[in-house]
Amino acid sequence: MPTKNNLIRHNCDHYEGHQYDHLQARKYGLEADICIVGAGAAGGVLAYELSKAGFKVVVIEAGPFWDPATDFASDELAMRRLGWNDTRLVTGKNPLTMGSNNSGRGVGGGTVHFTGVFYRFHESDFRVKTVDGVAEDWPITYADLEPYYSKIEKDIAVSGPKHFPWGPFHGPYPYPEREPISANAELFRKGCENLGVRSVVAPLAILSAPFDGRPPCINRGFCNQGCLPNAKFSTLIQHIPKAVWHGAEVLSDCMVTRVEVDKSNKVTGVTFVHDGKEHLQKAGIVILAGYCIETPRLLLHSACSRFPDGLANTSGMVGKALMTHSAHDVYCKFHDEVRIYKGTPVLAATQDFYETAPDRDFVRGYTLNSHGSRPLSLAANLVSKAGIWGQKLYDIMRDYNFYAQITLVGEVLPDENNAVTLSDEKDEYGMPRALITFGYGENDNRLIAHGVQKAQEILEAVGGEPAFVIPDTGHLMGACRMGNDAATSVVDGFCRSHDIPNLYICSAAVFVTSGGCNPTETVMAIAARTADHIIDEAGGNVF
């Protein structure tokens, strides 16, 4: 029986000039300056910045080191493997769907299969309690992240509009916006225009012109299946190779199962499993960049006599206040063909409903993304989330080419009852499986109703007939939130844990609120800021 890790068999140890299918020739042996757990959006940026600064960096990733040319395919079913498919137990009023809608597995993490939609948060996102009297304020502001947003956009040549009308940043983006846009995006923009709603060509981490040895997008449309031409940014192709060039070591197919702590209450490194065998990686600093489920699971599972409730958890907030985005898919049917399989999935968007408005019965807001769709994801969502099957499903799918879609990215307010805890069922590594509890609050549901109606109005304004709505979710945020108060948060504004000075948590897990837009750019900006902080702390003296 094959194991999950050798269904795709690659090398597991990678550093400049070397690749091994064993762990006998590790570059940094047992000693590294910095060990980063998880090679996704945050882990990739951290690995690049910190190795460039001269630190001995080891990145440990649970999944494979993908080779796009031979591992990716233009196929939805085959590429489901890009999601984190390890079983999680789910419960609550609205149990979450897990997998590729909100996770990645393998080097590059979720950036390998995200849609490339690249937004900055707005100023109000960091001050929700002050502005709206709900949730909490972040310990950092938009101004703290602004230089890092600019840096990240420049580092990967974000393609976007000359003028972006919402939030504090109005463009221009480093690269021109994408053109042409798809029929689906054209309908979206015309519908917005007819209603007096502002829209833009979406800012994307997908190239509109050559950059750094990568070609512009060919509108293949399979962003969620892994980009074959490498036109879409991922840390797999952008940050990790550069980190390796700067001296980092990447251990792939290696699952971290425990963070180790010594008598002085500092972390000393991590234990990980490769091919059923345990190994140790020592490091001066450990950064957990493994997203919102695996990070709290690892911290809780690393409980020891010194930290009986789990590491970094004196506040009790590890695992608490997990958020997602409401991501309802709104479909309308048209007389003429739309063909939503063509082109980059998200090419147009509006944030006209992003900020709290006094005439609405909820606070905060959302982004509407014009969104393409492929047959498998549409049909599977219709049956599993909308309960449509048999002749009705067949009738819809026969007319697949006649539908346009808009997807909501709705802010979900933090609720401490939405949480990641440890279940009493064990996984293949002997770790307790995560138990994920989630339910929408009243504000979330009102926001969803508003967003769904607006999306329908936009498509109706250009001749569409409302057809169906698929309730869905996307992204994860929170569960190890940042804050100034060690009693109510897990890390400080630089992502350093309040309890253990050489333990950092750096991913969307530190988000205090969810924002109402795709979160990847904010994750990467936070990671770049944390890297700068660690470099500053070292005072130019790399250990």
Binding site: N85, L89, V90, M98, R339, A379, S423
Partner: protein, 202 residues
């Protein structure tokens, strides 16, 4: 049901296979069969899945249904996880095995014969009951998590069906698109190789 299955009767996505990358082509062509012997499903379970799948996807073509069963068997044979499982629900393998047995048991109690021996109308009613969470029972009289069984089984069936190139052709889906990509993506424009409706089709 075959006559007007499609608005694109002259389109065959497989005619474009020379324009696909090797890896994708290998993956897609394997869906045409032949398929290896099942590793997880018993013969009776496979027959049940064929029949259930026919209702779920509203299609009775044996070769396509055979691919669906093959896909399900492969999914249940790998060590890859099931992404999420509702608390208190058995592991997917167990759930599907128990669910298929419970469905037979339900039909025997309700209609006097196992699932494959009752008429289409009764089969549909039994499946609709599952979807709505109408209780069906395991051997030990423990209730099956009916909704979850239906959801997991139907999602895999539908995922396989809409991954079959014959179905892609029928819905006018362009299918694999690398290294070629798309040139004409704007409204009303199509690349020369894409599905076109017949001139008299409304």
């Amino acid at each position: 049901m075959a006559a007007n299955r499609t608005r694109y009767p002259s389109y065959d996505v497989l005619k474009e296979k020379e324009h696909w990358d090797d890896h994708t082509r290998t993956i897609v062509l394997q869906r045409l069969g032949p398929f290896p012997a099942h590793r997880f499903l018993t013969g009776h379970e496979a027959d049940l899945v064929v029949s259930i799948a026919g209702h779920i996807v509203y299609d009775d073509r044996k070769d396509i249904l055979a691919y669906i069963v093959h896909h399900l068997d492969e999914t249940l044979s790998t060590p890859v996880g099931e992404a999420e499982r509702p608390l208190g629900t058995p592991e997917r393998k167990t759930l599907l095995r128990q669910g298929l047995a419970a469905l037979d048991r339900f039909c025997e109690g309700e209609y006097g014969s196992p699932f494959l021996a009752v008429d289409q109308h009764e089969q549909l009613a039994a499946l609709a009951g599952l979807q709505l969470g109408k209780p069906q029972y395991l051997d030990d009289r423990k209730a099956l998590p009916s909704k979850e069984f239906f959801k997991k089984l139907a999602a895999e069936i539908v995922s396989a069906y809409y991954s079959h190139p014959v179905v892609w052709s029928e819905i006018g889906y362009g299918g694999p698109a690398y290294p070629r990509g798309y040139v004409r993506v704007e409204k009303g424009l199509t690349d020369p190789w894409e599905a076109k409706r017949d001139a008299d089709e409304e």
